[in-house]
């Protein structure tokens, strides 16, 4: 079980990690600034295993891979959204951060609700209710399962 941090539609990658931080030498030095403009307490309150739940077009804008990377570094277990912008979606899979499309979840849950995700079953469970998620195409699930794209370069 993990706690839900809830965001609205069209959350762009500048909000996930602002420009002035992305040139910092390491992801660890950036992660304390995640979602700073939208939820200044996010980085200090999120615990490993927690979830980000969002509406449509999550991660639009800049291609900065620092956006999914800071979420993963903070221990976010998965991002569940109605839809994702393309580059964020691809980057998240490449670094091994699960990104799950679930159309019904966002409107029915609140920040702070406890959630459980089963990627195998393709469902999330919150407040005693079950919501079906869209499964990843096999190719992308394969990248995620091996721990990200770079793992295949080290085989």
């Amino acid at each position: 079980m993990g706690k839900i941090f809830k965001f609205q539609q069209d959350v762009d990658t500048d909000q996930i990690i602002a420009s002035q931080y992305i040139i910092f030498p390491t992801i660890d030095e950036m992660k304390g600034h995640a979602f700073e403009s939208l939820d200044p307490d996010f980085a200090s309150q999120v615990q490993p295993g927690d979830y980000v739940v969002a509406s449509e077009n999550f991660g639009c804008g800049s291609s900065r891979e620092q956006a999914p990377s800071v979420l993963k570094a903070l221990g976010v277990q998965a991002v569940v959204a109605k839809s994702f912008a393309r580059i964020f979606y691809r980057n998240a899979i490449n670094i091994g951060l699960p990104v799950i499309v679930c159309k019904d979840l966002h409107d029915n849950v609140n920040a702070g609700d406890e959630m459980e995700l089963s990627m195998q079953e393709g469902v999330v469970r919150v407040n005693g209710k079950e919501y079906a998620c869209t499964k990843l195409p096999e190719y992308m699930q394969g990248i995620l399962d091996q721990g990200g794209l770079i793992a295949s370069l080290n085989e």
Binding site: S19, S37, S62, S63, R64, E65, S83, N91
Partner: protein, 415 residues
């Protein structure tokens, strides 16, 4: 069944006869562009590989443009890492040459190529009929090591253009209108293809501006039909097309839009979303603190000419900072030769070196709490140009320059 331009480029890069939307193919990439926004992280990952290697160093182009010249010791460390690595491995490297996409267009990109850029606005390369798409540094590293990547074949939205833009209306107004019409995710995962008689009225600068901004509708890439204007642009720069693909008559488009360019009006995108567009006149009178003319979207010589013509003999409003930033060294020198830099400086503008500047909000010209910027930059997201509680309006070079003179948002026709 016929194929679209995007499908043909992917098929060629995958070495197969045909592809269709939804297929995933392994493709050979022609070029790999990376800038100082993420290259330091790519290098760190490269150095941790068990068997680090570069498939073909000639495909790589590295460009320092986001924070140039350096503004802090941390930036200097990132740049040094990038510079030293490029030198050690013989990677083509530019620093001070301009904004990455403008440099790529001036020096490298050609029709029919498939290009990964570690920057979302890589879709600009469609102006010459190249499939450019933005990726993160992990994708970039994988492609750098193997020369290849995986690509999901996108559906295509087709935009058939007729007519021509009226005087005082620009390519920026057109593409903002399109983004407003289809929304910030209206082309998510898709290619946006532009063609028709109206395209022939748009010069290369207009075409780059249009393709560059398509990612703001979520597009994977943007593509324009190759014509005489494309071929002349390439020939003048000593390049030949790799392929000259056109969509087949029976190609399948997810949706077709017919747009008469003469119906487009001056547009402004309001804070904090690029699809939050209105008729520029609706924003008339909005106070501004800063104006920015530059970026990979609107920092070319054609844009500077538009601004210079409006501001010649006039002055920047005393309470406004007006930043003029040529998109490349080539543009800067051309502007010097034409007296355009003098014109801006006589008017009181601040002319900067070619770089991304305030468009990405972490180098020069950032705005403070509660301040408002009108910009030819690419984005108006919350905090994009500086303080999280500041405001960015996007508009054409003409509207930005006119607003810099008046101290509030205005179109050039009523200045």
């Amino acid at each position: 069944m016929g194929m679209t331009m995007a499908e043909k480029i992917i098929a060629a890069a995958a070495g197969v006869a045909s592809v269709k939307p939804g297929d995933i193919h392994t493709v050979e990439l022609d070029r790999l562009m990376s800038n100082d926004g993420t290259t330091h992280l790519t290098i760190d990952m490269y150095n941790k590989l068990k068997n680090p290697r570069i498939a073909d160093v000639n495909k790589l182009v590295w460009i320092v443009d986001h924070n140039v010249p350096c503004d802090s010791a941390k930036t200097a460390a990132s740049h040094k890492k990038m510079r030293d690595f490029a030198k050690e491995h013989g990677i083509r490297y530019y620093e001070g040459e301009g904004v990455c996409h403008q440099v790529m267009m001036e020096k490298h990109v050609t029709s029919g190529e498939l290009i990964f850029g570690a920057d979302s606005h890589t879709c600009a390369y469609g102006a010459v009929g190249a499939f450019g798409t933005g990726v993160g540094c992990t994708d970039y590293l994988y492609a750098m090591v193997t020369g290849k990547s995986w690509l999901l074949v996108p559906e295509t939205l087709k935009f058939n253009l007729t007519g021509r833009l009226n005087d005082g209306v620009y390519a920026r107004d057109f593409i903002l209108s399109v983004i407003g019409m289809i929304g910030a995710n209206g082309a998510n995962y898709m290619a946006m293809e532009f063609g028709g008689e109206g395209l022939k009225t748009l010069d290369m600068s207009d075409r780059i501006c249009i393709c560059n901004l398509c990612v703001e509708a979520g597009a994977k890439t943007a593509l324009m039909e190759v014509d005489e204007i494309t071929l002349d642009y390439l020939k003048a720069r000593g390049r030949e097309p790799k392929h000259n693909f056109k969509s087949d008559e029976d190609a399948v488009f997810t949706k077709v839009y017919n747009i008469d360019l003469s119906t487009i009006k001056p547009i402004v995108a309001k804070p904090h979303f690029v699809d939050s567009v209105v008729d520029a006149k609706e924003c008339a009178g909005t106070h501004i603190d800063e104006a920015f003319l530059g970026s990979c979207n609107n920092g070319r010589i054609e844009d500077l000419r538009v601004g210079a013509k409006i501001i010649r003999g006039k002055k920047v409003h005393p309470l406004v900072r007006f930043l003029v930033v040529p998109a490349s060294a080539e543009v800067y020198r051309q502007a010097l030769a034409e007296g355009i830099i003098d014109t801006f400086m006589e008017a009181g503008a601040i002319v900067m070196n070619p770089n991304c500047s305030v468009c990405w909000g972490s180098c020069q010209g950032v705005i403070g709490e509660g301040e408002t910027l009108i910009s030819t930059g690419t984005r108006n997201f919350k905090g994009r140009a500086g303080h999280k509680d500041s405001f960015v309006y996007l508009a054409s070079a003409a509207t930005v320059t006119a607003s810099a003179i008046k101290g509030e948002i205005t179109t050039a026709d009523v200045l």
